[in-house]
C-alpha cells in the first residue's frame, strides 16, 4: 500500500452563524468569525489517496485523473466563493474547517476511481488544520 498526497490551494470567504442561537450566543461562540459580511482565507488542501502500485504503470493513481476530479469537484466549486452563500453544503451547515474537510471528502470519495481516499487535510491558516479520514 502506497499513499500519495496532492496539494491544492483555494481562497474563499465565510462566516459562522447558527440561526438557532441568539445574536448574543452567536457572538459569544464565534467571535469575530460571526461578522455577517464574511471574511476570507487562503486555504491549502491536501488530498491523500492510497492503493497498491499498479505493476504496469508504477502508479497508485493516475495523477492527471486525480487533478481533474479535484479541480472539477472541489476547486471549481470553492475557489473565490462565499461558502455560506454559494456552496450548497453550507446553506445549512456552518463552514468551519471541520465541515469543509468533511464536505471535500464527500465530494471526492464517490468520484475517485481505483485509488481509495485516505485523508483530507484542510489548512485554514498555516497554524490551523483539520484532518478527516471518513470516520463516522
Amino acid at each position: 500500500m502506497v499513499y500519495l498526497t496532492r496539494k491544492a490551494e483555494f481562497s474563499a470567504s465565510h462566516y459562522y452563524h447558527n440561526p438557532e442561537f441568539t445574536a448574543e450566543e452567536n457572538q459569544r461562540l464565534f467571535g469575530k468569525c460571526n461578522n455577517p459580511n464574511g471574511h476570507g482565507h487562503n486555504y491549502t488542501l491536501e488530498v491523500t489517496v492510497k492503493g497498491n502500485v499498479d505493476p504496469r504503470s508504477g502508479f497508485v493513481v493516475d495523477l492527471k485523473q486525480l487533478k481533474e476530479v479535484l479541480n472539477r469537484e472541489v476547486l471549481d466549486a470553492l475557489d473565490h466563493r462565499f461558502l455560506n452563500k454559494e456552496v450548497p453544503e453550507f446553506f445549512t451547515r456552518i463552514p468551519t474547517t471541520e465541515n469543509l474537510a468533511i464536505a471535500i471528502w464527500q465530494r471526492l470519495a464517490p468520484k475517485l476511481q481505483k485509488a481509495q481516499l485516505h485523508r483530507v487535510r484542510v489548512y485554514e491558516t498555516p497554524d490551523l488544520f483539520v484532518d478527516f479520514y471518513g470516520e463516522a
Binding site: 459562522y16 447558527n18 456552518i94 468551519t96 471541520e98 490551523l128 488544520f129
Partner: protein
Amino acid sequence: MKAHLTRRYMFSASHRLHSDEMSDAENTATYGKCNNPYGHGHNYALEVTVSGPVDERTGMVCNLVELDEFVQRKILERFDHENLNMLTEFAQAVPTTENLCTTIYDILQRGFQPAHLDKVRLEETMMNSFEYAGD
C-alpha cells in the same frame, strides 16, 4: 462525524542537556554541543491535535478559543522565554525535546477536557520533530 483538529503554536526556550547520572565524559559523548554548560535555545513549534465528533450546532470539534486559552495559560506562559532546566518538570529529567513533548502531552491530557487529545508534535528545529500520543 469525527474530525481531527491541529493547532500550531510557537515558543522559544533555552536548555542544556546534561545528566547528573553520567560522568562529564559520558555527558559530552552523549549530548555533544547540547551539553554546553551555558545552555542554548530553540524556537519550538508545538502542534496539538485533538479529535471528536463535529458538533452539528457549531460545526466544531472544540472551541478553538478554549484550546488557545488553555495552551496559552498552561504551556506557553510556562515555557516561553524560559530556561527549561530551571523548571520543576526538569528538576530531575533532562529537558530533551522527547521529555518536553511528553510533558506537554501530560499537561494537556490532565487538564484539557473539551476534546480528546490525539497527540502532541514538537519541532525543535525545522530538521527535528517529535510526536507523542500517550503510548
